[in-house]
Symmetry: C2
Subunit: 157 residues, 2 copies
């Protein structure tokens, strides 16, 4: 698993590899602290090493994959963390995407260079987006179809 | 399937339902043309009708789900459009996420209210983000692990 030397987008992949009990190589690279989707210079002929110019990547049997959430879903399949039915899988993925929407709003705000614009986005996050999302999560948890302490009942998904 | 009266994020769900040969109700709502993630006023007690305040939603056997990509993956499971192995699934999902990154950059640009800021984002898209993404897709297609005309060989995924 290759990523920059911080938690960032890769941390959930690291968690999942630990939960799955898999030995993996935690490769940390330093590209002057550039965030994931900034342009990365790929040496000629090395495009296969960095598909879509993105980190994190995960190498599986010599093949290199990117896109955090896709990698996580692959690991969830491998480690049987998707619940029992296709609908269970849909539930867990829906919640992940909703959390990711919120995370992305934070990332967009933090990357905005214009200070006034960034402050506006921060205010919108604090006053509107985050409270609305949290209240939706509250409501969803109250109505969730499975009992038990976890989203899909009695086990982690 | 419920969405606003335009193609937008829901169109790919509509396509998939057609590919899967499923009869479905194509409900179009008008919320003054607001884009998907704008706040939607949910009448008290109706939170179950609009989980996470988002459209599109898909009702399956009386349960309502949101998040376009999660819904699409569920339909891909139902209609056997994910290839044969977990790695095939990872390939197809990785490509979807990379396309979605580009789409999201366009959406962020279009939603930016400040004209100067919006023009900067547009320029970055045209001169940097889009060409880089297209060249990555070109490179990926050249090196793709399956032969045949489609991403996963001889059938649509």
């Amino acid at each position: 698993m290759t990523y920059f030397n911080y938690r960032g987008r890769a941390e959930v992949i690291r968690y999942m590899l630990v939960v799955g009990g898999v030995q993996y190589e935690d490769i940390r690279v330093d590209l002057e602290g550039k965030p994931t989707r900034d342009p990365v210079t790929v040496p000629q002929g090395c495009e296969k090493q960095l598909p879509f110019n993105q980190l994190p990547t995960l190498e599986i049997d010599g093949e290199i994959f990117c896109q955090t959430k896709s990698i996580c879903r692959y690991l969830a399949t491998l480690f049987d963390l998707h619940g029992e039915t296709a609908k269970d899988r849909l539930y867990s993925e829906m919640v992940v995407e909703c959390v990711d929407d919120l995370v992305n709003d934070v990332i967009i705000m933090r990357r905005t260079k214009n200070e006034e614009q960034r402050n506006e986005l921060l205010e919108e996050l604090i006053n509107t987006t985050a409270p609305r999302a949290i209240s939706s999560f509250d409501c969803f948890i109250k109505n969730k179809p499975h009992g038990g302490p976890y989203l899909l009942g009695n086990r982690v998904s």
